[in-house]
Every structure is written in structure tokens, then in C-alpha cells.
Amino acid sequence: MNKANKANRAINLTKNKDSYSISFNAMASPCEVIVQSNDKQLAQKLGNIITAEVWRIEDKYNRYDQNSLCSVINSKAGQPVAIDEETYLLLIFADHCYQLSNGLFDISSGALRKAWSFHGGSAKNTQFPSQAQVSAALSNVGWNNIKFDEQKITLAKGMEVDFGGICKEYAVDRALILAKQLSDKPILVNLGGDLAVTGSRLNDETWQVAIEHPDIDSALNRDAIADMIVSLKSGALATSGDARRFIIKDGVRYGHILNAKTGWPIAKAPRSITVVAPQCIQAGILATLALLQGCNAEQFLTEQDIKFWARR
């Protein structure tokens, strides 16, 4: 899978009316960079630099890639592994998220994936683990059992870390920093729906980002609901949750967001939450933290005065 991914590393440049669009695949998602400029050389340069950065981050933190730093850390659980500054900063950030969520968000919860398999859609091949399986997996989860400092990280035996919950958003922010260094033209970076812009488009126009309306469900009142377009002048937008990844048992739908404390999926959470924030990683974490609140997801964001759209 990894080899195939790397073989897929092509960059496509398309000319639009007043912009160039650079599309590529990364982190198992279709990605796109739009620069509002007719300078083809600039577009190519941006494409090369941004894809290099995104693919670098993917290669470093993809837990499915045996050569990634993440896999090395996981495979050597029980012994210290040397880390660089970037990884240290990501771990510090993950620690903040753990504290802020009272332990609900935990990048060491990857071990739970052994118990849970979310293929979604067809309820037939649903795998629903027993409590014993969940408990077994849960014994290998716990942020507090991970020791790290600026030089090294040590996982307790059997543990795994997974940067998947923050990696894509981090890559968006990194890509944007590099883009800003290269050009002051309006640029949008979109990695599979998590996106950020350098600022408003030319003539102070906003970027129009389409979001599925969260409440397009009513049969009769649909006329009263317009398709929603978010006008983004600056900042970032990230979505957490995935409509396709869930399992159904006894008529109850379980989303793929797991409670790191119980090892079970969060009940009554929205299907997805989209948040707007200055940086993409903030938006992504806020969306995920909200999902972890289950039925209180919307309340959580409202109380924090955060602009969001929830889809239930």
C-alpha cells in the first residue's frame, strides 16, 4: 500500500481562469493547492515545495509505513527512541490536547484499532469486539505511560502512538508557512478537506468553500435550506469525523472516534464537525475534541464561541 502510494506521487498542474491549481495525492486523500496567479513558474515551484513538505510529513509519521519514525517508535516500544525537535513539538502539542480533553484525546489510543475495525456502510461484515478484547487493547493505552523529552521517547511495552489525528492538519499549516515564504499571492492549501488560506483573494474577495449542510435532512423543509458556502477570508477549516467510517450494531451507529478512557466509540456524536480557526491544526483538534463530547459536541463548541457546522 505504501509503495503504491509513493508511486502515485505525481503533481498535476491545471490552469484556471485567473489561477493555477496543483493537485496531488497525499495521506490517502486527494489534495489541492490553488494559487491565484497566472505565473506558471511560481505555481510549479509552489507545487514542488508544498508536495515535498506534505510527503515528508507523511513519510515521517505514517504508522502504516514501516520505515516511518512513527513505526520505529512503535516497534521499539519498551526502549528509548531518539527524536528530533519537530517530533518533540508534536508530542508537546499532543500532551496539551490530552490535558485539555481530560484524557479523552490520546495519541496512544492506536492500540484500540486492534479491537475495532471500522469499514462502515454495510452492516454485514461488521466486527464488534467483546468487552474482553476492548479491555485487552485498552491496557496498552495511556498517555501517562509514555515518557519523552527533547531527545528521546520511551513507550511502555505493547503501546503504540498514532499521529494520524493531527498529522494532516499539521501538514496544512506547514505547507502554508512555506507558501507564504515563497509568494504573497493568495494561496489555498487543501489536504483532503482540511484546508487553510494565506489571506483573502485578489480584490479582497473571499475563498468560497462548500460545506455540506448539516441539516439537509427534512423531507419537506428542504426548500428552506440553502446549500452552505463558507466564505473564508483567512484562517483554516478542518473537519473531523467521517460519514463512511462507522459500524452498526443492534441498530445503534458507532462512529470511528474512540473514547481513550473506555475504549469504546463515542455515542451520540455528530457524524462530522467542521470548525474554522486561525490554524488548521487548531481547527482539527477543536473538531475532534467536540466529537469526543458525544451528544454535547455542539454545546462544547458553542460555549467556546467557536464557529462550526455539525452534521448529525
Binding site: 439537509i216 435532512d217 423531507a219 419537506l220 428542504r222 426548500d223 460519514a243 462507522f246 451507529r253 457524524r271 448529525r312
Partner: protein, 75 residues
């Protein structure tokens, strides 16, 4: 004549009671098709308004889908 009316008015409660059955309906995440514009009951309101006006002025029946109403001297 009267028999026919009675028969037809009875259809509504029967249909409602059968459609009230628990097996009907979809979960929110199964609304991909229903969410499309062409699956709304009044997908083309402008066409409907123009048609209503034509048929209201040419035929003895009006309304049913929405209000039949008066509203113009064309009838």
C-alpha cells in the same frame, strides 16, 4: 357518487396508518439520494407556479399540492 367520495376520503387515514410503520424511513446518514434537489417535492417552484396559473385559468380544479386559492381574475 356519494359512495365514491367516501371511499376516497378513507384512503388517507389508511395510507397514513400504514406509512406510520416502524420499518419506514431512513437513518440520517442514508439521505444521500433524498438530499438531492430533484428529490424535493417541489423541485421546480417557478415551473409549478406558472403551470398552476395556466391550469387555474383553463380548468375547474386548482390546488391540492399547495393552496388553490383565488388570487387572480383569470378564472
Amino acid at each position: 357518487m356519494m359512495y365514491k367520495k367516501l371511499q376516497l376520503t378513507l384512503i388517507i387515514p389508511i395510507l397514513i396508518s400504514t406509512t406510520g410503520c416502524a420499518s419506514l424511513g431512513v437513518e440520517p446518514w442514508e439521505r444521500d439520494l433524498l438530499a438531492k434537489k430533484e428529490m424535493s417535492l417541489n423541485a421546480a417552484p417557478i415551473d409549478a407556479a406558472l403551470d398552476d396559473h395556466v391550469y387555474f385559468s383553463k380548468e375547474a380544479s386548482s390546488g391540492g399540492k399547495g393552496f388553490g386559492g383565488g388570487g387572480c381574475g383569470c378564472n
